[in-house]
C-alpha cells in the first residue's frame, strides 16, 4: 500500500495555511460522519429488535390462520380450486412511502383496501361463518406481514448505508488525515531548513565581509607606513585658499 505518500505541493507559508485548513476540514468531516454512523446504528438495532418480535408474533398469527383454514375446509369442503380460479382483482394493495432517518431515505409499506371482496359468495352453501373468520384471520396476517416487510426493507437499506458510512469514516481517518499530516510536516521541515540556509548564508557573508575589511585596513596601514599615501585634501581643515581672481 502506498500509504506513505504526501500531497505534492510547493512548500511555502501559504501552502502551510492551506494544509492546516484542509486538515481541520477533514477532521470535522470525519466527526460528522461518525455521528451519522452512530445514529444509523442505533436505529438499526431498534429495527432489528422490532423485527425479531414481529417475526415471533407472525409465527403465532400464521398458525392461528392455518387453524381456521383447516376448520373451514372441514366444514365447507375443498374450496381451494374455486378460490384459485376466481382471482381477478386484488382488494389489498400496498403503497411505498419514504421515511427519512439521519439523511437516509427508508422505504415504508402502507397497505390499503380497494374494491370489493371478490369472495363474498364463496361459502354461501356451507361453512360461511368459518370462511368469514378465515378471511378475517388472513387479512390480519396480511396487515402484520406488510408491517414486517417495511421493517425488513428498512433493515436492509440501513445495513447498506451503515457499511458505506463506516467505510468513509475509516478512509478519512486512516488515509486522508495521515496524508495531510505528512504533507504539513514536510512543509514545516522544508521551511525550517530554508530559514537555516538563509541564516547560514548571512553568517557566511558577514564573515567574508569582516575578513575583507580587515585585509583592506592592513593594506592601508602598510601604505601609510611606507609614506606613499597622500592624504586627500581635508575640506574641513582651515587652510588658506589662494584667491583666484581675475588676473
Amino acid at each position: 500500500m502506498s500509504g506513505k505518500d504526501r500531497i505534492e505541493i510547493f512548500p511555502s507559508r501559504m501552502a502551510q495555511t492551506i494544509m492546516k485548513a484542509r486538515l481541520k476540514g477533514a477532521q470535522t468531516g470525519r466527526n460528522l460522519l461518525k455521528k451519522k454512523s452512530d445514529a444509523l446504528t442505533l436505529r438499526f438495532r431498534q429495527i432489528l429488535k422490532k423485527i425479531i418480535e414481529t417475526k415471533m408474533l407472525m409465527g403465532k398469527v400464521m398458525r392461528e390462520a392455518a387453524f381456521s383454514l383447516a376448520e373451514a375446509k372441514f366444514t365447507a369442503g375443498d374450496f381451494s380450486t374455486t378460490v384459485i380460479q376466481n382471482v381477478n382483482k386484488a382488494q389489498v394493495k400496498i403503497r411505498a412511502k419514504k421515511d427519512n432517518v439521519a439523511g437516509v431515505t427508508l422505504p415504508v409499506f402502507e397497505h390499503y383496501h380497494e374494491g370489493t371482496d371478490s369472495y363474498e359468495l364463496t361459502g354461501l352453501a356451507r361453512g360461511g361463518e368459518q370462511l368469514a373468520k378465515l378471511k378475517r384471520n388472513y387479512a390480519k396476517a396480511v396487515e402484520l406481514l406488510v408491517e414486517l416487510a417495511s421493517l425488513q426493507t428498512s433493515f436492509v437499506t440501513l445495513d447498506e448505508a451503515i457499511k458505506i458510512t463506516n467505510r468513509r469514516v475509516n478512509a478519512i481517518e486512516h488515509v486522508i488525515i495521515p496524508r495531510i499530516e505528512r504533507t504539513l510536516a514536510y512543509i514545516i521541515t522544508e521551511l525550517d531548513e530554508r530559514e537555516r540556509e538563509e541564516f547560514y548564508r548571512l553568517k557566511k557573508i558577514q564573515e567574508k565581509k569582516k575578513i575583507l575589511k580587515e585585509k583592506s585596513e592592513k593594506d592601508l596601514e602598510h601604505r601609510r607606513a611606507a609614506g606613499e599615501l597622500l592624504e586627500p585634501a581635508n575640506l574641513l581643515a582651515e587652510e588658506k585658499d589662494e584667491d583666484l581672481l581675475f588676473e
Partner: protein, 119 residues
C-alpha cells in the same frame, strides 16, 4: 411520495395460497399472469426459481411472501437478491413451523444478536 399501488405476491403450498387469496391479495395482470404460485409436490425447483425471478422483475410487486421450506430450496436465488424492494418475507407453513435460524434476513444480523434471538 406515495407511488401507485403495488401487489403482494405469494409462493406457497396450496393451503397458504388459498388463505392469502381469501385475504384478498390475488390479482391477474393484463397478460393474465397471476401474482401467486401454488407449489405442489411435483413442482420443480427451476419453476419456483423462474417464478421468483419473474416476480422480482415485475415492477408492480412490492412484497413476496414465500413459505420457509420453499425458500430453503431456492436459497441461492433469495440470497442473490440484495435490493430492498421487493421485500422477500419468509412465512411458516402448516408442516414447517417458523425457524428463525434459516431466515436469510436474520442471518445477516447473526453477528449482532446471538442469544437474544430466541428470547
Amino acid at each position: 411520495m406515495a407511488g401507485r399501488g403495488e401487489l403482494i405476491a405469494v409462493i406457497g403450498d396450496e393451503d397458504t395460497v388459498t388463505g392469502f387469496l381469501l385475504g384478498g391479495i390475488g390479482e391477474l395482470n393484463k397478460n393474465r399472469h397471476p401474482n401467486f404460485l401454488v407449489v405442489e409436490k411435483d413442482t420443480t425447483i427451476n419453476e419456483i426459481e423462474d417464478t421468483f425471478r419473474q416476480f422480482l422483475h415485475r415492477d408492480d410487486i412490492g412484497i413476496i411472501l414465500i413459505n420457509q421450506y420453499i425458500a430453503e430450496m431456492v436459497r441461492h436465488a433469495l440470497d442473490a437478491h440484495q435490493h430492498s424492494i421487493p421485500a422477500v418475507l419468509e412465512i411458516p407453513s402448516k408442516e414447517h413451523p417458523y425457524d428463525a435460524a434459516k431466515d436469510s434476513i436474520l442471518r445477516r444480523a447473526r453477528g449482532m444478536f446471538t442469544a437474544e434471538d430466541l428470547r
